[in-house]
Assembly symmetry: C2
Amino acid sequence: MKLHFSESIQQLKTLATREILKLTQGNDIISFAGGLPAEDFFPDKSIQSAFVKVFEQGKNSLQYGITEGHSLLREEICKRMLLKGIQANLDQIQITTGSQQAIDLITKVFINRGDTILIENPTYLAALQVFQGYGANVIEVSSDDDGMNLNDLTEKIKRYQPKFIYVTPTFANPTGRVWSKERKQGILQICKQFETILIEDDPYGEIQFNKTTDCSSIYSLHTTNDFNPVLYTSTFSKIVAPALRTGWVIGNENIIQQITKAKQTADIHSSMIDQQALYFLLKDFDLDQHILTICSEYKKRKDQMTHLLKEYEIPAKWVEPQGGMFLWLTMEDSTINSAELLKKAVQKGVAFVPGTVFYTGQAEINTMRLNFTYSAFEQMEKGIKRLQHVLS
Amino acid sequence: MKLHFSESIQQLKTLATREILKLTQGNDIISFAGGLPAEDFFPDKSIQSAFVKVFEQGKNSLQYGITEGHSLLREEICKRMLLKGIQANLDQIQITTGSQQAIDLITKVFINRGDTILIENPTYLAALQVFQGYGANVIEVSSDDDGMNLNDLTEKIKRYQPKFIYVTPTFANPTGRVWSKERKQGILQICKQFETILIEDDPYGEIQFNKTTDCSSIYSLHTTNDFNPVLYTSTFSKIVAPALRTGWVIGNENIIQQITKAKQTADIHSSMIDQQALYFLLKDFDLDQHILTICSEYKKRKDQMTHLLKEYEIPAKWVEPQGGMFLWLTMEDSTINSAELLKKAVQKGVAFVPGTVFYTGQAEINTMRLNFTYSAFEQMEKGIKRLQHVLS
């Protein structure tokens, strides 16, 4: 029988990272590829206590919930967001199955096939995949270490009239960079001027290595009473644990209503047990103290990785990340194709993500993304040693 | 700022049932509207033990999982499916966030805007919403108490060349009916002949009141070695608990691969904690015995509801359901508009779903769906009494 799949699904290429992860599973491969948090620091005992409290609530904690998400959890998230300067009421927040679902639902709510989305280049691979699946015309805006080039942005807004702009301004995936406050303020003003929606994807914003880094969210920079064009999305995956698959999106009520409608047909609602457990966790556990621990440990791992890269003379340069989970390497030899290099690397027992997959259009083939949070010191050293072998 | 939403989201009307549920929340309204299982029978202690076992596994149970779903859970589902005559290996099953997500992902995998889907009329409201959201041309096939009219089906396949046919052949939502085995075999043959995919949505198949009712799944009737055109979907929402949001879809490997791709961009994977807990539950808890208990209790509630409808002389007829969760009433007075009636009913403190929302095209306005599983005896009597007031 001949199968006739939709255009959307045909346009969705299988994710390179996913195939890589498959190769590395169960083998003696040290993987710097996945965006995995370190298991050692998961607050498992506190999570378990939170689940016990859910069951103590009685049987109705096992019933269907509302699509918007558990109200008490949304309240706790609003309180946490306030600490980041993000003001939102309960009707401005939708719970999602990780922030990935937020990106998917937002795209569903805005994009007709052929509509334009502006992005940073490089940017988060799985967001690119979502946009391609919806048949969007994805256009890159030139960027540097301070964020998007605002002149190029303005020009491209005028030229393409995009439905939205997608950015990860704080400890970006894959580059690890933080936009300067000036650029953050700039993009907000431009979005207001041209009435363009801005998706601020912020899964890493709390994983901050230096107190002095300005991690303001673009959403919070809107302080006037007019329309805030920013949709802010984040997740508990990196600061609590990924298995809970709980993220959220905050924004204008009219937009959130449409996202809720999309969520209703997508899966009715996310796991209510996990949402209730997260509510108890936020209430009873010192998440901020926990985040400080993670940040301190991840900083150590980042320092160790950059130290090892120097020690083993990996011929690459990078901008020292001030937070997040990734180190973005540019090989000194600009003819190195890191996608080709990966095949050899996997044979030698080490994996990374070749930089090319994060680009649309012109890609820098000699780039790669290394995750520094997952591997403990010994493993990390073994992995970097193997990388040295591959390159020599 | 003017918001420009996508066609998809504009076509998605807010679900009537959802608005009704909102009206009934927190008020003294007895609702026969929702498709809720009875909380009294949730196996909360066993579910709690299953979660404890997840945490005993150690911290890596909190890490990201694979998109296809927890392998051990998929194995257990395969074993259960075998008891229903459904043979599938691990690569033929995708875990979803409830069976709602299975319907959404299947539609994403097959439907371009304008493609045709054939359905029963009436059919599951939230599936209709999904299909409309993807811009499908939804065409009804005439049906009677034995299932779809196979002549009309054949004619419409020839005329419209549908991408797929969507049916709930066992204890349907909203009608509660079961297709005859002959019709089940008939539709399978027709789908094979015309190379058409068949979605068999089976959330209620195990809620069976009489041992003699033939609940064969259409998927299981395919016993030859050629291509099985059936995608079978079900969920733990009705037989364990909805809050876990765990369903699955079984089918041809090539199709499942595409569904996995769609799932990857939609939300990476469903809650791994819930999936692992369900694995332990299936392994250590006598789910079949539990299902027998539910069936026996739900049959009592169904009997009570039909008894009350007679006792309070509700002027309606119905086909006695042999399973599932719903009673489908047709008011004797064919001029009664049950959507109008609902407004009065909510004022009098009782809710149901007006039948019209389950139809595309020609609707029978004097129909309504009553859920008989959620309300315990006393509440149910109070509700039916109120319904009598509304009608008198």
